[in-house]
């Protein structure tokens, strides 16, 4: 009897030890993070695996912040991020001894949408958007005529991104100057398709979401030209995003690569593949690729193992991609 118990106990211990001791996926590229970056990374992963049989890539979606949490715990090799790494995340990486290479890989353009039946709005300035979306407007700015007096006395119904999304963070920062500072009385959804539906059925609607959702629903929605810093109204398009004239509502999105992971040949191969095939695949999944030299610069960073971020831990809006690439990289948070 006691023998049997002992034998079972030993077997359990062996089993537990085997679970604790093994590490799966040494030949696997492990990626997690933003849902905005996901479609591009998924496309690259798919192509990479068909070009390199036997190599495995897995991609998860846990949001930019959730992705970084796994990244600095060393659970992932690459983190998808729709915003630059932040101060707290930089410090966690430092504590864990994780060095990262920051690679901008595409543009994401936020698009302000109205119903096609709306003919009086021909462009919006950032000031207009601030009037509409600032926290002070809550319960007060309820009609189009309150935004600009020449617009009709019709109700204004608002649609926007859910508060947990990077889209919400970026839009609020670009419009009100402070991330997450927004009025709360609007139809919010993490699912952009819900916003598409809402705006396409409501002639008084105004809303914002990612460019890809606009492209797929061009017949149901109208994109509003946004007046940029040169006082020119610019319609979001591949060209206007790429040349930097659609500002400040376009932003670069990133992947962060663990420098130590790059020592593994499959990771290096995957990252190089990403930067080489990325532009074409980015277009295919309806995002806007960066100018060609940005990928060149990315290759350089990988080849030389240049670690750090160009942002010092703070998000910025309206930053031109050329300026971003010229900046020095650092792992120290900027005050």
């Amino acid at each position: 009897m006691t023998h049997k118990v002992m034998r079972q106990g030993a077997a359990t211990l062996v089993l537990l030890g085997w679970f604790a001791g093994t590490t799966f996926g040494q030949a696997t590229v492990r990626i997690d993070g933003s849902s905005t970056v996901y479609p591009i990374t998924e496309a690259v992963a798919e192509e990479f695996m068909s070009a390199n049989p036997g190599m495995q890539v897995v991609v998860g979606i846990s949001g930019t912040g959730g992705g970084f949490k796994k990244f600095y715990r060393g659970e992932t090799d690459i983190s998808n991020a729709s915003r630059p790494i932040q101060v707290a995340e930089m410090e966690e990486c430092k504590k864990a001894g994780i060095e990262y290479i920051e690679l901008p890989i595409a543009f994401d353009a936020l698009t302000v949408m109205i119903n096609p039946a709306n003919t009086f709005v021909t462009s919006l300035t950032i000031e207009d958007l601030r009037t509409i979306w600032s926290p002070e407007a809550q319960g007060k700015i309820l009609k189009w005529s309150q935004v600009r007096s020449e617009w009709p006395d019709q109700p204004l119904t608002l649609y926007g991104a859910g508060a947990d999304s990077g889209t919400f963070d970026y839009f609020t920062e670009a419009v009100t100057g402070k991330a997450k500072s927004s009025r709360g009385d609007f139809t919010a959804s993490e699912d952009d398709n819900v916003l598409v539906q809402g705006i396409s059925k409501d002639k008084n609607a105004l809303g914002y979401f990612g460019f890809a959702y606009y492209i797929e629903n061009k017949d149901k929605l109208k994109a509003v030209p946004i007046v940029n810093h040169e006082n020119k109204p610019v319609t979001p398009s591949e060209a206007s995003v790429m040349d930097g004239s659609y500002t400040p509502l376009s932003r670069p999105i990133f992947i962060y690569v663990n420098r130590k992971s790059l020592d593994r040949p499959e990771i290096r191969k995957f990252v190089e593949f990403y930067l080489k095939e990325g532009p074409a695949l980015t277009k295919e999944v309806r995002y806007v690729p960066l100018p060609a030299d940005a990928y060149q610069k990315g290759m350089e960073r990988v080849a030389k193992g240049q670690i750090g971020t160009a942002f010092g831990g703070h998000s910025e809006t309206g930053l031109h991609i050329d300026e971003l690439l010229k900046r020095p990289l650092s792992t120290e948070p900027r005050k």
């Binding site: 604790a20 799966f24 492990r30 990374t41 798919e46 695996m49 998860g60």
Partner: protein, 301 residues
Amino acid sequence: MLAGVRPGRRRLMDAAFLLLGAALIVLSLGTLAALLLDLVRDGLPRLTSGFLTSFPSRKPDQAGVKSAIVGTCAVMFVTAVTALPLGVASGIYLEEYARKNWRTAIIEINIANLAGVPSIIWGLMALGLLVYALGLKRCILTAGLTLGLLVLPIVIVATREAIRAIPQGIREGAYALGASRWQTVRHHVLPYSMSGILTGAIIAMSRAIGETAPLITIGALTYIAFLPPSPVTSSPPFVSLTWLESPFTVLPIQMFNWVSRPDARFHANAAAAGVVLMFITLSMNALAILLRYRSRRAIRW
């Protein structure tokens, strides 16, 4: 007869209640039927053999649910293997063996409460305990254990209800013939309560198969284009458990991802994946109902 209510009126109330009941059934079943019909109509054109045997893809027409089906089945297997025996054993212990005192009272209250805890809380608990504290990988085993814990209270409660429905005379009869407590449980209590326990198992597994939130918390993936290693190997000992620590995705997560895509063709994929998920749930339930039917037929009191 109730005082002051005329017989004609009573009959009228009876008929009115019947009508109300029938109307509610039609309403609820009608809603369900409409939803299912809508799902099948959207998904059916995509339900080809290619859809079942392809991995996810950025191209909606080439995307499939192979890894999600295998992931769902593997996770459900781990859940069933852990939650069902443990839950039934706990139920038997609490009903047949445990003394009724304040300690078992506390346990009982806790189990009833645990059955109502939101699934995301289980996910956070699993992340903290299984992944961070015990160092398990974010893999099939962890997912199965998480869902196992999630449905364990349901299995325990159902088991206890089923056991409680057995007349005390059966047990007393067994004891009178000199059966031990275990013999009574093994040969009488358990077989007679089996149909109720299986109903509980159906409910528990059906709940587990649709869960998304706790699996996202413990790190289910969205894009995975390979299968876990096979549980059967060609060399001794012919059985391999390495699939337990393989990364995974499940059908509800795949569906969720497709629904939120901008391209409408992915929405059809999501509907098709929904049909597949429903088919798996229904066949799982059919199996349990068959077992239940057979266990009922075997009982002769």
